[in-house]
Symmetry: C2
Subunit: 294 residues, 2 copies
């Protein structure tokens, strides 16, 4: 079985590295950034494909790890796309995108005799490299069974949630809640700092009380130390909260916390902070860090 990858950001690249380590044949690679493509191709002894059609031609199973709905639609229906001569191929789609786009892509693929599987990742770069991703899959069960041996090498937790779109819904909700918790934590630490509290003590108290959360573990120290090296960018956080809010709007629900959170992440982008890690939201809430007020 030959494996292709489209989208060679740190997640996609690390998944490819992991599969190569585990003895799989990673054969064809593509990224819009040609330098990234050739560099990883050299590292993995794979082909740096000039077109998406070449990725499909040289692989049986193709992972797609792109950034958003527009990129996903483009790789499956642009002038050069993955579905040329794609009969029998399996596309494992890992991007955090709208459920609707997963359904569109499934239909397009099905039209040419190809299979698709959503495999939404609720983990980060380190887990991709170590094969310990939290993976939530959806689609046709046959596609899941076909992908399972590969996905087992990539994940420490693997779930099949049902029909196409379901995993993307759950992923959107996970990130919506995570982003709310992150924005709330930044407010707590920012106010704590304004009140003259010892933030190392405050983080410890948060971690031991009703304020405890995963993001206290992953983001609180970075917020205190202004270490916003990007694992998950503010721009991505804004996009993901936006997916959830669009689903809420379609369902007739008003979600004020999710809205306030998206507003904060959009404000980061407006102020040129969108490429900071999501922990960078603390730059908005600490009194001495932020000159501009909107």
């Amino acid at each position: 079985m030959n494996i292709g990858f489209v989208g060679l950001g740190r997640m996609g690249a690390n998944m490819a590295r992991r599969l190569k380590d585990r003895g799989f044949h990673v054969t064809t690679l593509f990224d819009v950034d040609r330098t990234t493509t050739t560099s990883l191709a050299a590292e993995l002894s794979a082909a740096a494909c000039p077109t998406l059609g070449d990725v499909t031609a040289g692989a049986d199973v193709i992972f797609t790890v792109v950034s958003d709905d527009a990129a996903m639609r483009s790789i499956f229906s642009g002038d050069d796309n993955l579905l040329a001569n794609a009969a029998g191929k399996l596309f494992i789609n890992c991007a955090t995108i709208s459920p609707q786009v997963h359904m569109e892509v499934e239909q397009l693929a099905s039209g040419v005799g190809a299979e698709t599987l959503e495999a939404c990742m609720a983990s980060s770069i380190t887990q991709a490299r170590e094969g310990s991703l939290y993976l939530m899959c959806a689609g046709r069960e046959e596609a899941f069974r076909r992908a399972e041996p590969l996905l087992n090498e990539l994940s420490s937790s693997l779930r099949f949630l049902g029909k196409t779109g379901e995993a993307a819904k759950v992923k959107a909700l996970v990130n919506m809640v995570m982003n709310i918790n992150t924005a709330g934590l930044a407010e707590g630490l920012g106010l704590g700092h304004a009140l003259g509290l010892d933030l190392t003590m405050l983080r410890e108290v948060f971690s031991q009380t009703g304020a405890a959360s995963r993001v206290v573990q992953t983001d609180a120290e970075d917020m205190q130390n202004r270490d916003h090296a990007t694992f998950f960018s503010a721009a991505h956080a804004s996009k993901d909260s936006g997916i959830a809010l669009a689903l809420a709007e379609a369902a007739g629900l008003d979600l004020p916390l999710a809205r306030a959170t998206k507003d904060q992440y959009e404000r980061m982008t407006r102020e040129g902070l969108g490429e900071l890690d999501k922990s960078g939201i603390a730059e908005l809430t600490f009194p001495d860090r932020h000159a501009k007020r909107s």
Copy 2:
């Protein structure tokens, strides 16, 4: 040493029961609800005091566990108050109130030769009964040392944070962040329900991913099952977020998540849901639970 209690809600009553169990002399009790007072007095073989002055007269150390700033000011400066003939007495103040009021009370007590200690509790009713509270203390260190043997019997975690007001600040921040996480969780589960997702699955995914938080453990199942038996009421959540927001305003900080959260809890109160547990906020976010829209 004789011990008095003022404020016999479930927290205060359980702390009194715990100290009695551990061999301490709980001698004088007072609550504005006279029935509660006489009932607990009978249970603990203590005096049901008709006045606050009587509580102080019959005890060396007096715990106060009242509901808000106004109640706290009233018991220390009303016509009948705890400071009559209070020289040498120690008041251990456990209510979640504004730091400023702790400072006012310390000054009043100091004026009559009495000591005060803040002992803010970041735990709930069960922990009060079992002596496993998370206690954060502040005030003069001598007062803390005097209280320590008692507080050790009530807590599994005991911290001294510094001068009067510091523990109340930390407590306000803990509850502010907890309330944000709770409101965000309610939005996640409400939207999940609207999207037709299995909420038991969704809760499990939340608990294993970046959405994980203490409130996923304590409140998510109750939100799903509409079990809003009160441990910590929505009205209290609103009050506590309000304390934090007042501190933020004084510091010149705008905290949009904390504001949105307080708005939701105030809306519960307006709609007659203020005495539900804080998990009742899900009644606002699940589409089929809520007829009124504001």
